[in-house]
Amino acid sequence: MAIPKKAFENQVIDLLGRMHGVARRLTRNDADAEDLVAETVARAWRALDTLEHEAAFRGWIFKILHNTFLDECRRRGARPQFEPFGCEEPEEGEVQFSIFEQMHQPFLLWFSNPEQEFLDKILRDDLDRALATLPEHYRIVVILSDLEEFSYNEIATTLAVPVGTVRSRLARARGALQKILWQQARDIGLSAAPPARHECEDGKADTPRPPTARQALRAKKDSMS
C-alpha cells in the first residue's frame, strides 16, 4: 500500500523525536544518530510499497531504522557487543538479577522501603547511562518495550523474531539493566551497605554472607543521616 506523500511526511514528523531518541540510544553518538534517521527516512520512502496499512507505520519505520542500524554495523565491521537473535528458550530455573531481591536482604529490611527509596534517588542520567551500557541485543528490546511502549507482538515484528524470543530476551535484558544500575548505585553510594558475597564451598553458587552486627549498625546509621 502506498500512502500519499503528505501522509508519509506527517507520520515522519510526528515520530521524529522518537526515532531520533532510539537512534541516539542505538548509536550512542549524536552525529551517527542523525545520519541513521536520515538514511531510515530515505529508505522508508523507497520502500513505501511494503507498508501494508497506515496504522502499521510506526512498527514499519522502526523496523527499517533497526535494519539500517544493523547494516551500518555490518558495513563498519564493528559489532563487538551484538549477538543476533536466535531461538532462545528460558532455561529451567533461570533467575534474573533483581535489585528488589538485593535490597530484601534481612538487615536492609530494618529500613522502611529501601527499594522505593532507591527509585526516588536514581536520576534520568543514571538510567540513561545504564541503558547505554547494555549490549545492543538487550538495549533494543528495553527501548522498544519500556521507552516506546511497543507490545511484544510489535517488537517481534520489528525485530523479525518470535514473540517467545522477545519475552525471554526482555527478561534477561531487564536483569542485566538492573545489575548495571545496582553497580552504579553502589559506586556512588546510592544503595545502602552492599551485601557481602562469598563463594559457597562447592564454588558454584555465590550467596550473600550475613552482615556483622557492626556492618548492620553502620548501614542503619547511614540511612538515618
Binding site: E9, A42, S151, Y152
Partner: protein
C-alpha cells in the same frame, strides 16, 4: 487454593508480562487477586512498575532543531 489463587513463584514468573499488559484476561485476574493478598509480591510489583515508568520517561523527547531541519529538507526533496 481456589481457582483464583496462584503461588508467589508463578506470580513472579509472569510479573513482567502483567506489567507489560501482555497477560490474557484470566491470568490477569489471577495476578490481580494475588497482588491484593500478598504484600511481598505487591512490593515487587510496585518496584518493577515504577522502574518501567521511570524508563518510559526517557523516551519522551523533542527532536533537536538540527535533525528537524535536516529531515524537513530531505522530505521536500523526495
Amino acid at each position: 487454593m481456589t481457582k483464583h489463587e496462584i503461588a508467589c513463584k508463578q506470580a513472579l514468573d509472569q510479573l513482567f508480562e502483567f506489567i507489560d499488559q501482555e497477560l490474557p484476561e484470566d491470568r490477569r485476574d489471577e495476578m490481580q487477586h494475588h497482588l491484593h493478598t500478598c504484600k511481598s509480591c505487591f512490593s515487587r510489583f510496585e518496584f518493577e512498575r515504577r522502574l518501567k515508568e521511570k524508563l518510559g520517561g526517557l523516551g519522551k523527547g523533542e527532536p533537536s532543531s538540527g535533525i528537524r531541519d535536516r529531515i524537513t529538507k530531505l522530505l521536500s526533496r523526495l
